[in-house]
Subunit: 184 residues, 6 copies
């Protein structure tokens, strides 16, 4: 039987969803306009840490706003909690998601794990990688300087709504925080 | 700031996604054509049991095929693993999903938990509830009789592809199974 | 070195904390007025089910109100989440709680597990066991009839505050609930 | 490269390890004397329940004693905790165990899951199934009557050492146990 | 209805419970003598690591001895296991504890999470913070020099009873430990 | 009753199983030829990380091949997943494994935890510790230089079969990997 939908998968933590991510999504959609593209929000269970400041719900909302604004279609978004067992990760995703035909990643481990499981893996071209890098953008958010030009405009507005710079300033690793908080 | 999207939430286990589910989705979409509707696939971690025979990925695929065939738009689909703690459930979903404005449910406990958390809860009208009932449809699948007319046509084709009747026959509670299998 | 405190342990689910429980606590306190008595709230992670309708926090509050009203002293209260591994249960409690010198229980399995680990186990006399039984009191709550005389007065007032009868009515096993709620 | 060892897998809960199990192991060893046979102790995390009265360690010890006494060789024994996700179970075992060439089972679900993953599944002939059935033997243990002839002699001696009849009597479902014990 | 008890919450890991902690507790009790004060032992599941050398039970015992010796009343002590999901942490505590009216913390993240959930957060004045700092005291314990004057006298005696200096010496990060131990 | 088997336990992560490990096993077997020796594969749930590159199944296979080649007998191999709670670790192993009479370790924490639980702990003599060190061997694997002489010959062949040098090169900490992979 014919499969209803051909579907690509792009997994990221999207902390935050920035213009580099949007560029990759745009290029994948342009290259294969008939396919669906599933964006998996990795480490979905994490939030309020320096590495993962935003909840999966907040990241979901960023992506919805950015792809709507860019009029990108056939995009699916799914939060993916970590399972902390690399050898099972691909099988875990297979049980959670509809069939995937193609994986997009520049992460060597992700590529290895999917290739070992028999998937075709494509390396999307990254525009200006050094500039669009999550950790770098989080550092700029923490000092509230020079971050707005690195994220899609609707994401910038949303990050202001939730007062992201204050949150990042508080979570930045160099901040003295005391010893009685929730632990990770 | 204006919210980018008004969004409803309908949670179900969709074991399988049947014509009663599709009718509810159609009615919600018709009543509020500008809203997004998020379908949460509950008990996403479960599969290959009598109560939950299909993986979340298989259920995701059923829904995609049914809503595409019905030309329903603005539908989002998300697998939701159980957290087994009712008092935290709504808060858990809030961390995982984009903002929800309205919850659709006929389940009294779901309604109670969302109302306690301040949500507006709507009870969608069910067409022919007795007929479209998951457990009943699973029983028919197990004997491979009279189930096709209870699910959307693309779901029926998909269930045949994955040989659902054989799986259900094997999982049915009256079947003698021996004692050395994986346990739940 | 002399131990600072001699301490007994009484574990229960306290769904709800009823007058039978209070009678046992009173008798233990009277028999050993110099000891501390630690009340462990079992299955602390559970709530909003028929077996465990109240959160650990609600049960904690019931106990605080009842023992304050009864002017009972030297009572400690600790929520205890299940670990689902009987063979480790006593060792798990030892890591979580201050030293325990005596265990009070009428549960044969609890007694066995503690005795295997070298503890002295006492069987507290139960006054009118048939009358003061959690399941029975939950059933009366569900129909809002004849429950107030079975719980301490401050617990009765608290249960009314949180509208316990409505919650129990909703969770009672005979209630038709639909299929799309959070699962356990 | 040549594989160092050809290996079969037999998974059971072995609650307890009885003469029916020993007969199956003996037959597999006789049929393929050059292969290793790995015995997986399922539901290894469970103990002190009616379904799973013995710890994995106790079951391990029963098997060691029985196979030593029967002079069976090339037996490997591994405790396997449940993962509660059927769709991932085979992949989970693959990550935990050395390569398996053949699976022995009379459990239809186990057979389905391994066949779906590409394994050869053999159905071992069971001698006198009705007689050698775990639940039945546990019931006999609970009343301490007629169980010794159903388990290998060294297992019978071991079960007496750990006073298994008293444990089973206490765990049997018809026993009134009170409400304050550890919960499952 | 009037609440039975007004209650403050102070969360700490108390590794160990030192004189700085005791000073804060004393000040809170003095400022609001009619309120109960709940001390939450954070990271309760941790022990035998450099960051968390003492079990929750040992920390519970330290606190009991120190507050009894200081004749502080209306103190409640509860072990709190981490849930590793910051966005749910406050809701998790709400389900586990009786109602909290006021949170005491100098931890910026704790303050943020409670304020987001609508709580009043007070910053207790710390006497001599540089001196009373858990990590610093653990380092002194590891070399068994100059730690006794930094903890309440009954805690010092207890730490000697359990031979805390030897344990800390063994867990200190600079110690060569080999590769075959339990992992974290 | 006489115990059927006297049994030693040696726990390691065996990433990979190298000639230093084999030397220890050989020495233990030679010193107590009548005892069984159980090799516990620690951190069994881990794989595809720099610290734990090989699955438990791969490590199991390495050990089987090495001990078969060395004609070592009475060896048992068991994967042991971490439980992340040091205070419970020994009790957890007791529930999972047959009775242990003697523990072999050079890890100070392992020794402390077992001695606290009443075990006899022996420190096996290590031949040339600096040379046979897991981290060092993993670094050599990552650059595919000078590793073969540090592992038993059958392990070297196996590591080539699974292309271990390529995997280690990819997992090495100095490698730039991008941000969209599975997280730990």
């Amino acid at each position: 039987m014919r499969r209803a939908t051909v579907r690509g998968l792009l997994v990221g933590r999207f902390q935050p969803f920035h213009s580099g991510h949007l560029g990759v999504v745009r290029a994948i959609r342009a290259g294969r306009p008939d396919d669906a593209l599933l964006l998996g929000i990795g480490s979905a269970q994490e939030s309020y840490t320096w590495e993962n400041p935003f909840t999966a719900g907040e990241r979901f909302e960023m992506i919805v706003r950015a792809v709507d604004d860019a009029a990108l279609e056939r995009i699916e978004i799914v939060p993916l909690a970590d399972i902390h067992q690399h050898a099972l990760w691909v099988r875990h995703l297979e049980g959670l998601l509809p069939p995937i035909d193609r994986v997009y990643t520049n992460n060597a481990l992700t590529a290895l794990l999917f290739e070992r499981a028999g998937y075709e893996v494509a390396r999307p071209a990254l525009r200006n990688r050094a500039r669009f890098e999550g950790r770098q953008i989080r550092a700029r958010l923490a000092s509230d300087r020079g971050w707005k030009e690195l994220v899609p405009r609707p994401v910038a507005r949303y990050l202001e709504t939730i007062d992201a710079p204050a949150r990042l300033a508080l979570l930045a690793p160099n901040v003295r925080r005391g010893t009685d908080g929730p632990r990770r």
